[in-house]
Amino acid sequence: MQEMAQLAQKTRGWWQRSTTSTEGRWWRAQTHILLIPFAIAMFMLLWQGAVWLGGYPKFILPAPMDVAQSFVRSWGSGSLWRHTQTTLLEIFAGLLLGVTTATLLGYLLAKNRWLERMLAPYIVASQSVPVVAIAPLLIIWFGAGYLSKMFIVTLIVFFPMLVNTVVGIRGVDADLRELMRSLNAGRWQTFTMLEVPAALPVLFGGLKVSVTLSVIGAVVGEFVGADAGLGFLINQARGLFNTPLVFVAIFSLVIIALALYGAVSLAEAIVLRWKRS
């Protein structure tokens, strides 16, 4: 009995030790990651089953193998990577512009009720118009290149980021504000030592919503008018009845969205590790 207990002590294995490091904790929190290959396999099986049973032609529902071939071909020719790069550029540029402006304006709105009352109607009104409806305008103004898509992404990520910034800054504990005042802290010190760390959890929430919306924004823009990008590729392949290529483009978009979301989650886990310990 005792020996077993000692053995158990000695074999406190890698999975327990790994929890001491931040990344280890993150991975442990993501144990459902092991379920992902299983889920993918199930999905493929169902998909293949539907193709066999239904006997659909390739341009209605291509089999997984057809899509894989299409992927290899479009990747090999470099066209898939070229379109992916375009979409990624639009997403990153739009996120950078949208998230920074929304955070800055959100901070000002949170600090200044007067400004908020003045601007709130316009901000809400701008959100009641679907981005698809504004997209043609932006393309008329900024052309079919990546600039118009960048602005569409900016527009779509702006609101959730703005709202979360306002909520995050307003939510800073009033007692902690008073503590900073009792220490004679300046505005900048209150900003860096209190407001930023206190609002970070809410800001990360906004960022998670924003990165997923940014993919939608880029594709919407590319659908309305573009000469490159994964949205453009979908449109083009559809016109040529190249359904396998449509699938390839859709899966690429899914992977981009998942990667962005995962990156934000990982950053959150590292920055906010105090919440887990």
């Binding site: 504990d173 007692d175 008073e178 005042r181 220490l183 004679n184 030592m193 760390p197 105090w274 310990s277």
Partner: protein, 253 residues
Amino acid sequence: MTNDESPILTANHLHKDFPSRRGAVAALEDISFRVNAGEFLCIVGPSGCGKTTLLRLLSGLLLPDRGEVRFKGVPLTEPRAEIGLVFQNANLMPWRTVAENVRLPLDVSGRKETADEQVARALTLVGLSDFAHSHPHELSGGMQQRVAIARTLVHQPQILLLDEPFGALDALTREKLNQQLTDLWRELGATVVMVTHNIREAVFLADRVLVLSPRPGRLTAAIPVEIPRPRRLSLLYDGAFNDVAFRVRQAIE
């Protein structure tokens, strides 16, 4: 005690109003008193009599509508490092470790050369050296409040202003922390002004008890507590102690 009769802090005819729907309501009226260097002064009064407001005035966090607070003869217009304020709740930043929380005042004032030593010393004073790298949510309420006290001590303030610091804790923890607080005060030779609604706590801790009336707060009595120190917990069940406590109780009515 070390009463050298030189006031380190004086309150001269303090008035403070608070806005309400029916116009300004007087929270404090004509409050005057002096705090001697090295003294342990307690201010007692019922809820809502403006105790907390008075303490904020003494710290420079609030300014009076009339009258003035003087620190060593100089009018007080803003918070200063020599006057340390401990709030009702611990007010710790959850994302900072215990040591980092204690370090906050030094980060703000930019005095960082000897920060590590100062933090270590403050933590030793409150007996929390072993918890330097813990986060606040891993500590009990009493420990959190001790971290808050260490944070105030890190600047080596000459006056410690305490706003019912143990009010949210259970009675036994409270007794123990009060005992530790008197030990700390004797060790540091600092001046302490503490606000509380607990009469027995006030009498146990203080050299002098000031009594505030219900709203608007006015000073109604100043009762010296001439019970020798060190005072031990058994004192709480002693006759002389109860006599003073009863006098304070009567002064509140």
